[in-house]
Symmetry: C2
């Protein structure tokens, strides 16, 4: 029995208490200063307010002020913080970390480094660690199609843990695997991170096709499927440009996660609102006002800069999405021109 | 202006009159002896009974007895016959063909050759052609995510035309392309055919996940997405075993067509019925009684034999689907064991 400390009591962090407990460990769930309402619900025995699934009462809950206690003598840290907060939270955790403690990261996205270059999250997280922890606390990225509500409820889920050091990836996978939360491993952390970050962007476009269908009452399945195929091609290109392997973008963390993200979740819902006729900026404002982060929007902005900085060619669907996020209309035409074969 | 003759007045054959006419050609639609009711509806100005979309009245309709007239001085033949009838219909057409006439084939599936070996359709079709036509009437396969109702209605569609001779593929693509029916080309006809045939099989498994969701009122999206990723991996393996390229199985004719086939269509509907609790043989009998062919069922049987004959390893999802088609229960467990990473 090990101690697993999950930082972040949002949907995914809370969901991971299920495999942690079923694998026989002590599960600690630490909430940020934004998670007080969530912890209050869980302490009162109510379901998690974001996913409407009960969290096992054996979970030990820690308030934001109790970070040190949450990390005391833990064996595994899981960072499950939104992309705009994860670097900050890791910085606060540093005094309580010790070498030999792996850092499992569910957060997906990009950030800017000190020189204004777009980077995946692992190097930005490593930059926060002091030297002796940087080698001692290896970062392991979690990818694959995992909706938090289903992980929490114990429904079958395939994940991939990625670390340049496969031994570390395997050890953490052994710790958290259960009969229904199954983990494979890879050393292609760049591929997993690039695919996972970009799939949120492309899920917006899949949502737009769904919204067009709702709007007109007629399916746009051919366009949606062509969008899916183009998205996988672009996932591969971004992955390779960031040092990952093209096949990673076709497997669980790429095509698999794109599939589930296109079925439900905020990025798809946001796209569907746009497809139904709302302009993107207005739809985003409404979702932000309802406290719903749409990770794909920030990721699209970063990806636009990334494309320029690294001169990544062949991303017309990304371009179409950025134009739509900027308020562009003629959605079906714009997406079709990006995803259909060129005119003859 | 060319003459395009479409053999088969089912959903896809009739739908292709839309791009043929919009590209400026004469469109002829020949119905088999099973299509009399369809032609009667079209002649009466009613929508096509299978897809509930009107067919342009400029389409020239030919009864099954008028095959020679339908093929007289035509410039392009499109075979849009179900997989169990296409070899027979091509045999009947042979006396009316002439060298220089490309044969565009929408039919997907497998068949047995004279030695009982499972083959893709193009070699089986070529075997029907006399020598002078075999070289003169090159077969071009159509792949990609194309629901017939959307092609008929003129909604944006991405397709791929495949022929070992890229010049022929390009020429036929030039003939049929329109601003909304866009065609790319490839010389990987084996890859397009293998992917297109197998995606019908895997769509059944995607449907099962949808059915489980309907049955219990809870999503099984994680399982569905893991199934999708495993299906793409198996599409690649079958494609390569049949001489195609792995990347073809990730593009329009593979992952793209799997996406659209998993959204709607009979294979997915059949899987959903099973997921909701019907045993597979009973569900199939009901669909056959309703005149609904489920192409993935026959394809799964052929694929099982193909796997044995060519010793294709790594197809656990195909195996699970075959077991389910045989009446196997414990669907979620059976599929999960096939698509989740191995237990640790």
């Amino acid at each position: 029995m090990a101690v697993v400390t999950i930082l972040g009591a949002g949907a995914m962090g809370s969901a991971l208490t299920t495999p942690a407990l079923r694998a026989g460990h002590e599960a600690r769930l630490w909430g940020t200063w934004l998670d007080d309402d969530i912890l209050a619900d869980l302490r009162a025995g109510r379901p998690h307010p974001r996913i409407d699934v009960p969290i096992d009462p054996r979970t030990r809950l820690f308030d934001s002020t109790d970070l040190g206690a949450a990390l005391d003598r833990t064996d595994l840290v899981i960072l499950a913080i939104s992309s705009d907060g994860v670097v900050d939270v890791l910085g606060r955790a540093v005094p309580h970390l010790r070498p030999g403690l792996p850092l499992l990261v569910t957060t997906k996205g990009f950030g800017y480094d000190g020189e204004g270059k777009v980077q995946l999250l692992p190097p930005l997280l490593e930059a926060v660690l002091p030297d002796q922890l940087r080698a001692g606390c290896p970062i392991v990225a979690i990818g694959g199609p995992c909706k938090a509500n289903e992980v929490a409820a114990g429904r079958p889920t395939a994940t991939v843990f990625a670390s340049p050091d496969l031994v570390v990836a395997d050890q953490t996978a052994d710790l958290l695997s259960t009969p229904v939360y199954r983990v494979t491993t890879t050393d292609d952390i760049d591929g997993v991170e690039a695919s996972a970050a970009m799939k949120n962007v492309y899920a917006i476009a899949l949502g737009v096709a769904d919204g067009l269908e709702e709007l007109g009452g007629e399916p746009w399945h051919n366009l949606r499927a062509a969008t899916f195929a183009q998205a996988v091609a672009e996932l591969q290109r971004v992955t390779v440009a960031l040092g990952g392997r093209a096949e990673t973008a076709v497997a669980l963390a790429g095509a698999g996660d794109l599939e589930v993200t296109g079925l439900s979740g905020r990025n798809k819902v946001y796209g569907a609102r746009i497809g139904k006729g709302e302009r993107a900026p207005a739809a985003l404002a409404a979702m932000v006002a309802a406290n719903q982060t749409v990770e794909g929007v920030a990721a699209a902005r970063f990806a636009g800069d990334l494309r320029t900085q690294r001169a990544i060619a062949g991303l017309p669907l990304l371009q179409a999405i950025i134009e739509i996020l900027d308020g562009g209309d003629e959605l079906a035409t714009r997406i079709a021109e990006a995803v259909l074969p060129a005119k003859r």
